[in-house]
């Protein structure tokens, strides 16, 4: 099968790329090993969060946030996006100082979170314990349902003319100098462009083209409670990131912190009880009323993590037509729609308005002394 662009990986980035490209009339084929949105995009916390990101990542997050604001119109589906605000909590004066430091940086990038002091936070959030001494509220941040995003993008991409092939695991990859030849599920696919959106497994694709990178597996440890009376609109985080927590309007509290694990022998990922207990303890420390709730389910999945916590996003240094977009280090749900737009711009316009220097794969493969 011949295409203009092949995409490997049906997460948020890949599906968004397929949609953006198809809307510009490109013949695009997306190959997904399982079902779209089964890995990092589908199992994460669902945070649509700019707050707390490294300044180098803010332009991409802002571009993506702009797409999120029209995600319903873009996908024709309700992915439960709610700009409910992201409240990052400080549990010590050092953490409060960290919030202030980031807020000053963010202002230079056009983001304007608001500090909430000890008394104000007590008044506005009576469910918090005394452990919380302050917080920073990013009002335009929020959350969405991670289970719905990739399927919605894929559905819209299909409607726009993209070919989305699920249960198509890539078994061979080659480039003859002009075009890629990809074999998946017994079929050959050829195209001059290949977008590597394969999450953790993106590392193997990069290595295949002579660009090995030190990508590791990241398994977010997620939990959900039974439905509780609705008491919390904002999505919560803490300085240090060892707890994130939100309540959906149906009442369930979704929270995470720490890492799950994978079992290579039977190819599954599992949440880890030790991590779960830690997150449960920290959740109760912040919101004592959760002591009277039950955890009804836990889960994890696989994302890719880079040692410097930046993704690999941008053109290959070895292979013309190859563009990488993987290793989003647990922050790819928010950026997924934006990454897809960036990829479509790189293919169609040869440039994008988002600075990608920090994400260049060359930082691992070209620089002397790189890993």
């Amino acid at each position: 099968m011949q295409a203009d662009v092949l995409i490997v990986g049906g997460g948020g980035a890949g599906c968004s790329a397929a949609l953006h490209l198809a809307k510009r009339g490109v013949r695009v084929v997306l190959l997904e090993r399982g079902l779209v949105g089964s890995q990092a995009t589908g199992v994460n916390y669902g945070g649509v969060r700019q707050q707390g990101r490294h300044p180098a990542g803010i332009p991409l997050a802002r571009k993506s946030r702009e797409i999120w604001s029209r995600i319903t119109e873009l996908t024709g589906a309700d992915v439960e996006f709610d700009p409910c605000g992201h409240l990052k909590l400080a549990r010590s004066e050092a953490e409060e100082a960290e919030l202030l430091r980031w807020n000053a940086l963010a202002a230079e990038h056009g983001l304007h979170p608001r500090m909430i002091g000890r008394n104000a936070i007590r008044e506005r959030f009576p469910h918090f314990s005394d452990v919380v001494i302050g917080g920073s509220l990013m009002e335009e941040d929020g959350s969405a349902n991670p289970r719905l995003l990739a399927p919605a993008l894929a559905r819209a991409a299909r409607a726009a003319g993209a070919t989305i092939l699920e249960h198509h695991a890539v078994t061979e990859l080659a480039h003859d100098g002009a075009a890629f030849d990809v074999r998946a599920n017994g079929t050959h696919f050829t195209a001059p462009w290949l977008l590597n959106c394969a999450g953790f497994w993106g590392g193997a694709i990069a290595a295949r083209f002579g660009e090995p990178v030190p990508v590791e597996k990241l398994h977010p440890n997620m939990l959900v409670t039974e439905p509780l009376p609705y008491f919390l609109r904002e999505s919560l985080g803490v300085v240090g990131g060892d707890l994130y927590l939100r309540q959906i309007p149906r009442g369930n509290v979704i929270f995470g912190g720490g890492r799950g694990e994978s079992d290579a022998a039977i190819s599954v990922t599992r949440p880890r009880p030790e991590a779960a207990f830690g997150a449960m303890q920290r959740a109760i420390a912040v919101i004592p009323r959760l002591a009277h709730a039950m955890v009804i389910r836990s889960w994890t999945g696989t994302d890719g993590e880079m040692p410097d916590h930046f993704p690999v996003l941008g053109p290959s240094r070895t292979t013309p037509g190859l563009v990488h977009a993987f290793g989003f280090c647990g922050e790819g749900f928010q950026t997924g729609p934006g990454v897809g737009a960036v990829l479509s711009e790189l293919v169609m316009d040869g440039a994008t308005d988002v600075p990608l220097e920090a994400f260049d794969i060359g930082r691992f493969t070209a620089a002397p002394g790189a890993v």
């Binding site: 079902l35 399927p151 959760l290 009804i296 389910r297």
Partner: protein, 453 residues
């Protein structure tokens, strides 16, 4: 060698018996305070009914099981009131919670899962009303608590438990207002020959039906339950008879049950693959005839490994323990092994006939009204599930992701079977093709507040 047996029903009791006989001291974990299983469950202290009064024709078997249970407890590391809520097979560790709170990690070299079964249900409009229970629930109420779910209940479903429960209620003084069997008489009659593989059980079933008729209990076969009516609780059943005439029968409670489904969440978490058993109409964990799972060190027995009934549970429990012992090069009784293999083969023929005689009414499930809640935990309707199918959910876990079916406290235990029928029908594929809901820990809810270590 660290051996753990999970469950102290008939399968667990007989497994432990063989292990102890071979000189192994297993850790024995049971979720309830006592053990004994569902069919032969003992009431709490203070109840005085005799075994004959409690278990009827099963009294002898119950007495023998309880004697073994009591004899084995002190010869094992007995852990009652203990839920196994997670397994880490790669490290061979179980995570347990005792008495609703205290956490422990229990390592194992070999594990026998005897996790039992529960009723298989068919959601009806009104099935979440107070006063509606499972058939098993109606029976447990009577046996373990001496109470009826109502004074004039209606029992709905199919299978031996429907008839047995009806007679038990009639004898206890709560004569059922109706016994509604969705299976036509002829379907059952056709399987009579096959059921002679266990003649005593079959003849007992015939006797129960006759006794109910003698007592004047209204019986409807080949009938269709349409809705449970009521506001604060169930007050009537709206149903249709075999001639398509509709009725509204008043009642004060309704019990529902269409056979059993394995409680196999732990096998799932242990990494055991599942196969669809078209005859049983259930997904069952894969095991060989002796109970070995394809996952090293994991064995399964009893209804949790595929529905066979209480007698088969005893046989398969002993058989799985013998398999474990043989695999570990420990002394095991070869003659008993051969005897059990023969008995299990015969019982399998009986079971096959029984499943054909009392089929799950898959078509009723598939045709469920859009407004009927399939998932009672999260109140997700058949219509919402069909919308998920329309939004391109080709299998159950994707349907769960889209619709929240099976995401509630029970984790799809109840809705899994009927939801698969609704989804398969909406997609125009077989129920095997839509798969099953994956197990996720915790197997049952655990409190956020953990006791200080």
């Amino acid at each position: 060698m660290k051996v753990v047996v999970v469950g102290a029903g008939p399968a667990g009791i007989r497994a432990v018996e063989q292990l102890v006989r071979a000189g192994v001291t297993p850790t024995w974990i049971e979720e309830s305070p006592d053990g004994g299983g569902r069919i032969t469950q003992r009431p709490p202290a203070g109840f005085t009914r005799s075994a004959a009064a409690l278990y009827g024709a099963d009294a002898g078997r119950a007495r023998r099981l309880h004697a073994t249970l009591d004899a084995m407890k002190p010869r094992t590391d007995w852990r009652p009131d203990t839920l196994v809520w997670n397994i880490r097979p790669q490290d061979r560790v179980l995570h347990t919670q005792t008495d609703g709170a205290a956490q422990a990690e229990v390592p194992y070299d070999a594990l026998i899962l005897c996790t039992g079964a529960m009723d298989r249900v068919l959601p009806l409009p009104g099935w979440t009303l107070p006063g509606v229970t499972t058939l098993g629930g109606a029976q447990v109420a009577l046996k373990a608590q001496g109470v009826g779910i109502g004074a004039k209940p209606i029992l709905v479903g199919t299978g031996p438990l429907l008839w047995l429960t009806a007679l038990q209620y009639a004898k206890a003084g709560a004569k059922p207002a109706l016994v509604l069997d969705t299976t036509p008489f002829l379907t059952k009659a056709w399987q009579a020959a096959g059921m002679m593989w266990n003649a005593p059980t079959f003849l007992r079933g015939i006797g129960i039906m006759a006794a109910l008729r003698l007592r004047g209990v209204p019986i409807a076969e080949d009938a269709t339950p349409l809705a449970i009516e009521g506001v604060e609780g169930a007050t009537a059943l709206h149903w249709r008879d075999a001639a398509w005439k509709e009725h509204v029968t008043p009642c004060d409670a309704v019990a529902l049950g269409w056979g059993l489904k394995p409680e196999s969440q732990l096998a799932d978490l242990a990494g055991v693959p599942f196969d669809y058993d078209a005859l049983q109409h259930n997904w069952v964990p894969r095991r060989d005839a002796a109970g070995r799972a394809p996952v090293a060190g994991v064995y399964m027995a009893g209804d949790g490994a595929g529905i066979g009934g209480a007698e088969v549970a005893e046989l398969s429990g002993a058989r799985a323990a013998l398999a474990l012992l043989a695999d570990a090069k420990l002394p095991s009784d070869a003659a008993l092994t051969a005897h059990l293999d023969g008995r299990l083969r015969t019982e399998a023929r009986f079971r096959a006939a029984l499943e054909r005689a009392f089929p799950y009414p898959a078509k009723l499930a598939a045709r469920m009204e859009d407004s009927t809640p399939v998932c009672r935990c999260e109140v997700i309707t058949a219509g919402e599930l069909r919308a998920a199918a329309a939004a391109d959910a080709p299998e159950m876990n994707r349907a769960k992701a889209f619709s929240r079916i099976g995401m509630g406290r029970c984790q799809g235990r109840l809705c899994g079977t009927p939801a698969a029928e609704v989804l398969a029908s909406a997609l125009g594929v077989t129920v095997a093709e839509v798969g099953r809901l994956r197990g996720q820990p915790p197997v049952k809810p655990i409190p956020l507040q953990q006791p200080a270590a």
